[in-house]
Symmetry: C2
Subunit: 399 residues, 2 copies
C-alpha cells in the first residue's frame, strides 16, 4: 500500500465541469444542491449551503449563514447569503431560463422542501438529480483516495485498543467506550454519514459479542447487535463479554468526511476449531470477491464470486445471514457516505470503474456459533483491487 | 427534584387514540408514519417500520424486517412484514377509503418517497402530518419525564469527567474523547437525533474552548466550535486548551431515546472578574426565563423575559450571538428529537403546556472574551418550571 504525499486540494473545477456535463446530457437546465456531502464534494465547504448550478454559467453558492467563512474556503467565485430558495429562483429567471427540468436531491431532501421548490420554480419541472451526483462521486480521485487511506488507518488505533483492553467481564458498551475514546483522539469525526434518510450507526460502530451476534436487527445490516434498548436497537449492549466469546466490531471510520468501512472478529480467549474454520471460509469469500474485482465487470459479479466459495457447502445457509434474514450482497461503495453506490448485490449491474472505493464484507451467521465477519475497503485499479488497511485480515485472539 | 420510581410502560393506546383524534379533527382519513422516533412514540418499537393509522380501525405496523422482533415489543396487535408502501395502500382500499387526505411526515421523509406515496395513493391527497404528531409529542407523560430525568443525569458523569481530566495542554478532541468514553459507559446511546434533516452533532456534543468560542459555524447553533475541518465544521477541534481558557460543552444526552439538552462553562484555572460577571448575567437570563415559564404563556415570552435582563446593558449586543449572527431565541423543546417544538423564539406563539420539556440556553458571545453558556432542560408544571439536572448551575474552575 503506497502512502503517497497528500495530494493538492481537489480539482473542484473539474468536478463541477463533470457535473455540469452530466446535467446537460440528462437534459437538466439547472440543479440546486443542498445535501452537505454533495456541496462539500463540489465546492469544499461543509457549511450548510444551497448550491445553484446552471450549465455554462458560474455556480453560485448561497451560504445559509456565515457567508464570510464559506467564501474563505469554497471553490466558488460567487458566494452570497441566503437561507431560502428564493434568491436561487430569482437567479434562474435572471439567466433567462423559462422552462425545463431542474434537479434536486430527492433521495435526501424532505418532502416539504421538495414542495417548496415546486412553488419557487412553478414553471419548471422538478426532477431527481441524486443518481447523477452520486454517479460522479462513485469514482474517487487521488485526493479522495488519500483521504480514504487515512480513514482506514484509524482502524489501527481501534485494533490496538481492542488488543489492549478487551477482557472478559466488560460489557459491550465498555468496549465501545474504549474504542470511542481512541478513535476520537485519533481524529475520527465521531459521526458516520449515511445517504439513506433513516439509517444511522454509533460512531464506534457495531460492537457485538457472543449470543448477540446472531440477533439480526435494523434494516440494511446483518451483524447488528441489539443496542441498549428499543429506541436504538443495534450497536453495543450491556451484555457482559465472556471467555470464549466472539466479538465483532464493524464501523465507518470517518476522517475529514471520508468513511472507510471495516470490520474484524476477535476471540476472547482461544479460537476453537469451528471458529478457525468459519474464519477461513469468510477470508476465502473475501479473497474471491477481491480477486473478482476488475474494471468493467458488473457489481453483482463480485457477490457471485464470493457466493461460489460457499455454494454446496454446509456454510451456504449462513452466508450473509441465515433463515429468512439473508442478504444477497457482499459490499457497497463508500466515500462521503457510508452507503454509496454501487451495491455489490444481485441486481446491481453497474460496471466497476477504476477509482471506485468498495467495502467487501463477507460474514457467516448462525445461532449455533454467532458470527464471524471480515470487512475491508478496497480501491478498484486497472490491475484489480487493492486492500487499503494495514490491519491483518486475520482472526485475533485477545484477553 | 423527585426521583420517582420508573413508571410502567407508556400508555401507547392513549397516545394512539390522541393521534387518531387529531387526525380526524384535521380531516385526515389516514396517516402513514415512517420516522423511527414517531413510530417509537406511538408503538414502542425503534425498528424501521411503516405504521398505518386509520381512525376507528386498529393500526397496522409493517416491519420492514424482523417482524417477530417487532411483534414482541410493539404495542400494536397487527404486525406484518413489508418494506414498501404497497400493503398499506392495499389495506386503505380494503377499508373502503376512496378519497381524502392521507398524512405523511413531510418534514423528514425524502422527496422521492413522497413521490412514491403519491403514486401508491393516486386517488388521495398526500399532506403533511408532521406538526400533528410533533404537537402530540410536545407534552411529555410521566414515563417520558422519567426518561428525560435519567438522560439529564448523564451530565453528572460528564461533569465529573471534566473536573477530573481537563488540563491545559489537552486538545479539544482529547476532552471530547474522555467525555465520549464516560458517557458511553454510563449508557449514552452515542447518537443525538435531530428532526431537521441536515442537522447533526457529535455524541459528546460541542466541545469548544478559548478563541473558538466566538467562531460561529453551522446553521442553528451559536457556540459551535470549528470541528476538525471543513467536512464537519463544528464540535471539537485540535486546538490546545490553555491556562485561562474558557471551555463550553453543550450536548444532547440520549438515554433510551430521550434527549436532555445541557451545557456548562468551565474555566481552565481561575475565573477573572469579567468571566464571573458574564456568568452572572447568563445565570440571570436563565433564571428570568425559568421564572417566566408557566402554562398558557406564548413560547416567545420566555425569550423576551431573558432578553429583558440584558436590554440596555453592555451585554445586549452579545446575547445569543454578536454582530450579524444573533439568535432571537432562548431555547426549544426536547424529547425524542433534540430540536422539538416549541421554539422559545420571537414569532413562536405556541402556548406553553404542563408536561413540556424545554431547553433554556442563554449565552453571551464576543470575540473579546469567547463565550459563556448555561443550558438546562426544564419541565413545565402547573406551578412553573422545574430544572431537572442535579449539576449546579455554576461556573466551574478546573485544572
Amino acid at each position: 500500500m503506497s502512502q503517497a504525499q497528500e495530494p493538492e486540494r481537489p480539482d473542484y473545477a473539474r468536478r463541477q465541469a463533470r457535473f455540469e456535463t452530466a446535467l446537460v446530457e440528462s437534459g437538466f437546465v439547472a440543479a440546486i444542491l443542498l445535501d452537505r456531502r454533495n456541496v462539500f464534494y463540489l465546492t469544499g465547504t461543509g457549511q450548510p449551503c444551497i448550491l445553484l448550478v446552471v450549465p455554462n454559467h458560474p455556480p453560485i453558492l448561497y451560504a445559509r449563514r456565515v457567508a464570510a467563512w464559506v467564501r474563505s474556503e469554497a471553490a466558488v467565485e460567487r458566494v452570497e447569503q441566503a437561507a431560502s430558495l428564493r434568491p436561487a429562483a430569482g437567479r434562474v429567471r435572471e439567466l433567462g431560463l423559462k422552462r425545463g427540468r431542474i434537479g434536486l436531491e430527492l433521495d435526501v431532501i424532505p418532502g416539504r422542501l421538495y414542495l417548496k421548490a415546486r412553488e419557487s420554480f412553478a414553471e419548471f419541472e422538478i426532477d431527481d438529480v441524486s443518481s447523477m451526483i452520486l454517479g460522479a462521486r462513485m469514482t474517487k480521485d487521488a485526493f479522495e483516495q488519500h483521504q480514504l487511506r487515512r480513514s482506514a488507518a484509524l482502524f489501527d488505533r481501534l485494533h490496538e485498543t481492542v488488543l489492549e483492553s478487551l477482557r472478559p467481564g466488560m460489557r459491550e458498551i465498555d468496549v465501545a467506550a474504549e474504542v470511542s475514546r481512541a478513535l476520537r483522539r485519533a481524529g475520527h469525526e465521531n459521526i458516520s454519514f449515511y445517504r439513506r434518510w433513516d439509517a444511522c450507526i454509533q460512531p464506534e460502530g457495531l460492537v457485538v459479542s457472543g449470543s448477540n451476534l446472531a440477533r439480526i436487527s435494523g434494516l440494511a445490516m446483518t451483524v447488528t447487535g441489539v443496542g441498549l434498548g428499543p429506541a436504538l436497537p443495534w450497536g453495543a449492549s450491556e451484555r457482559i463479554v465472556q471467555k470464549g466469546d466472539l466479538l465483532v466490531i464493524d464501523l465507518g471510520l470517518n476522517r475529514a468526511g471520508y468513511q472507510a468501512d471495516m470490520s474484524r472478529t476477535y476471540v476472547v480467549g482461544r479460537a476453537d476449531k469451528l471458529t478457525r474454520e468459519l474464519f477461513e471460509v469468510v477470508l476465502a469469500c473475501q479473497q474471491a470477491a477481491i480477486d473478482a474485482i476488475k474494471p468493467g465487470i458488473p457489481a453483482e459479479d463480485v457477490y457471485a464470486a464470493a457466493l461460489r466459495v460457499v455454494i454446496g457447502t454446509r456454510w451456504e445457509g449462513h452466508f450473509q445471514g441465515y433463515g429468512t434474514e439473508r442478504g444477497r450482497y457482499i459490499g457497497h461503495g463508500v466515500g462521503l457516505d457510508l452507503d454509496e453506490p454501487p451495491v455489490l448485490a444481485v441486481g446491481d449491474t453497474t460496471r466497476l470503474r477504476v477509482g471506485m472505493a468498495l467495502a467487501i464484507e463477507p460474514k457467516l451467521i448462525g445461532p449455533e456459533f454467532g458470527a464471524v465477519q471480515l470487512e475491508d475497503t478496497v480501491f478498484v485499479h486497472d490491475g484489480g483491487a487493492e486492500v487499503i488497511s494495514a490491519v491483518p485480515r486475520a482472526l485475533f485472539e485477545v484477553g
